[in-house]
């Protein structure tokens, strides 16, 4: 069913990873990405994966969820893998047949790239698993707020993101309801050719658009009724505060980054 789609995919919990300041968590994720891209050999990647696995275990998110996050990008991994395998011609040839040439370098790069993408996705999905979308946009707003000096609308962008995120589940629920209602009237969305299926979407899309516009209008009115006038002078209910644990997390992450850089010197490729 459509409800099974998880967007935002926040997994509520009380682990230390959940309680980290979201701004710090964003920073850590950036350092982690840097770590992955500075790693030039397998030992470096191994260190990065140790870091990521440790974080996963501490967060208490089931490892199953980590594997689930890889699933949607599997085609990309396979695609880049094939490209690397066939188009890298340096190194010793392993297979040579007509125009196809597979070298040991190609195989190594394929595995290396695949590992890097998988680590990238697992690590970044840990951020969304442990941080609710609303806190995340909050953090983004705070990080971007210095840019207000150059008239960058940080608050407005964060507000739009928050609203969009807030309405994703609502609209999914709405779509589900409309689909059920039209199915109950005998609408058939699962069979027929492409044109037939596209046509079958009309009874769902029109009511969905109508209700999305209605909701937008109601929300705007409700916000105005509560004197919303943009970000100027707004205070917040939940102040973001950094705690000692945040600094500890940063230091640990930086140690790992240093380790990866050192390992690069001893590792081939």
């Amino acid at each position: 069913m459509i409800k099974d789609i998880t967007i935002g995919q926040f997994f509520p919990g009380k682990s230390i990873i959940h309680r980290l300041d979201p701004r710090i968590k964003l920073l850590l994720t950036v350092i982690y990405i840097v770590m992955l891209f500075t790693a030039s050999g397998f030992t470096g990647l191994l260190a990065a994966s140790l870091y990521m696995l440790a974080a996963f275990i501490i967060s208490g998110i089931p490892i199953k969820m980590m594997l689930k996050s890889i699933k949607p990008i599997l085609p990309i991994i396979i695609f880049t893998g094939i490209l690397n395998l066939f188009f890298i011609s340096s190194g010793d040839p392993l297979v040579e047949w007509h125009f196809i040439k597979i070298t040991d370098d190609g195989v190594r790069t394929m595995i290396f790239m695949a590992a890097r993408i998988i680590l990238l996705i697992c690590g970044t999905s840990l951020l969304t698993y442990t941080t609710s979308p609303i806190t995340l946009t909050d953090a983004i707003e705070r990080i971007l707020s210095p840019l207000k000096v150059i008239k960058f609308p940080a608050h407005e962008i964060a507000m739009m993101m928050t609203i969009a995120l807030r309405f994703i589940p609502t609209l999914i629920e709405e779509t589900d309801k409309i689909m059920s209602a039209q199915k109950a009237r005998g609408a058939d969305m699962e069979s027929g050719n492409l044109i037939h299926r596209a046509k079958a979407l009309i009874p769902i899309l029109i009511p969905l658009f109508v209700s999305a516009f209605r909701r937008a209008e109601e929300l705007a009115l409700a916000m105005e009724c509560r004197c919303y006038h943009g970000g100027e002078g707004r205070t917040r209910l939940k102040q973001l505060k950094t705690a000692p644990r945040d600094y500890v997390a940063v230091v640990i992450t930086l140690i790992f980054l240093a380790a990866v850089i050192v390992l690069n010197m001893f590792s081939p490729i």
């Binding site: 109950a184 009237r185 005998g186 009874p203 029109i206 009511p207």
Partner: protein, 289 residues
């Protein structure tokens, strides 16, 4: 076997996630054909989930559902055919309107059934009359209608499929008393005219009491009881403990009886109460003379 029968029907939302919830718990039901049944329970008691099983929109986590003797999901190719036997009107059905004209929208269901043009036309006009939409409205856009008219047009869209069972989920939600009485009235009329089974889901005891003959009370995902009106209202205390109330007028007359006034009837509606009071007064008046 009745028109709707369930065997150990259980449905669980979000199995295997932290949000797991048993919405419908081991339900055994047998509803006879031609009955008009009220399904009542507080918000979250599993009413809406239960009725979505009756036309195969939800697949039971375990247990079976039979419609007119046919088991749902036993043969997937027949699901659509069985689905046409059960017409389901969702909450706020006016949000499902999409066609250019009211006529086309009411015709959507019958068209999906593959009926002939003449038959579709007959059904659209007949149901429009039944729900009290004037013929000139049929050529209007559904978005031009008023709230109550939209709702009646949407209900007509399901009635036009002439299902053996008509299920309405909170058909009076968000309407003013006049609109509410109108919808309840047309449901009663439809039942009287067609004689088919009608299920009316509501959390308002007052609405249900004046419309239906039997009541199914849901509490915490389970069936608390399925009985006729007086049987249900006799359990006033239990109903109150699960956040439901006996209709005000029924309570008043229970108190009158307790106070020593003698009458045989069970009172479920204000109109009936009025007649009863006048009759009792007349009887007394005569004996006084």
């Amino acid at each position: 076997m009745g028109i709707i029968k369930t065997e150990n029907l259980t449905y669980v939302y979000g199995e295997g996630t932290p949000f797991r919830k048993v919405a419908v718990d081991n339900i055994n039901l047998d509803i006879d054909e031609g009955e008009i049944v009220g399904i009542i329970g507080r918000t979250g008691s599993g009413k809406s989930t239960l009725i979505q099983h009756f036309n195969g929109l939800l697949k039971p986590t375990s247990g079976k559902v039979f419609i007119d003797g046919d088991e749902l999901f036993a043969d997937k190719s027949r699901l659509k055919e069985i689905r046409f036997k059960v017409g389901l009107v969702f909450q706020y059905p006016e949000y499902q309107l999409f066609e250019e004209t009211v006529y086309k929208d009411i015709a959507f269901g019958p068209k999906n059934m593959g009926l002939s043009e003449d038959e579709i036309d007959r059904r659209v006009r007949e149901t429009a009359r039944l729900v009290g939409l004037k013929p000139e409205y049929l050529e209007k856009s559904p978005f031009e209608l008023s709230g109550g008219q939209k709702r009646r047009a949407a209900i007509a869209g399901v009635m036009a499929m002439e299902p053996k069972v008509l299920i309405l989920d909170e058909p009076t939600a968000g309407l003013d008393p006049r609109g509410r009485d109108r919808i309840l009235g047309l449901i009663k009329e439809y039942h009287a005219e067609k004689g088919t089974t009608v299920l009316l889901v509501s959390h308002s005891m007052e609405d249900v009491a004046k419309t239906v003959s039997k009541i199914l009370v849901m509490n915490n995902s389970k069936v608390f009881m399925y009985s006729d009106r007086s049987g249900v209202f006799a359990k006033a205390e239990e109903l109150t403990s699960m956040g439901l109330t006996v209709p005000q007028v029924t309570r008043v007359f229970d108190r009158l009886r307790a106070a020593g006034i003698e009458f045989e009837d069970e009172v479920f509606s204000v109109e009936y109460a009025k007649d009863l009071v006048l009759r009792l007064l007349r009887e007394r008046g005569q004996s006084l003379d």
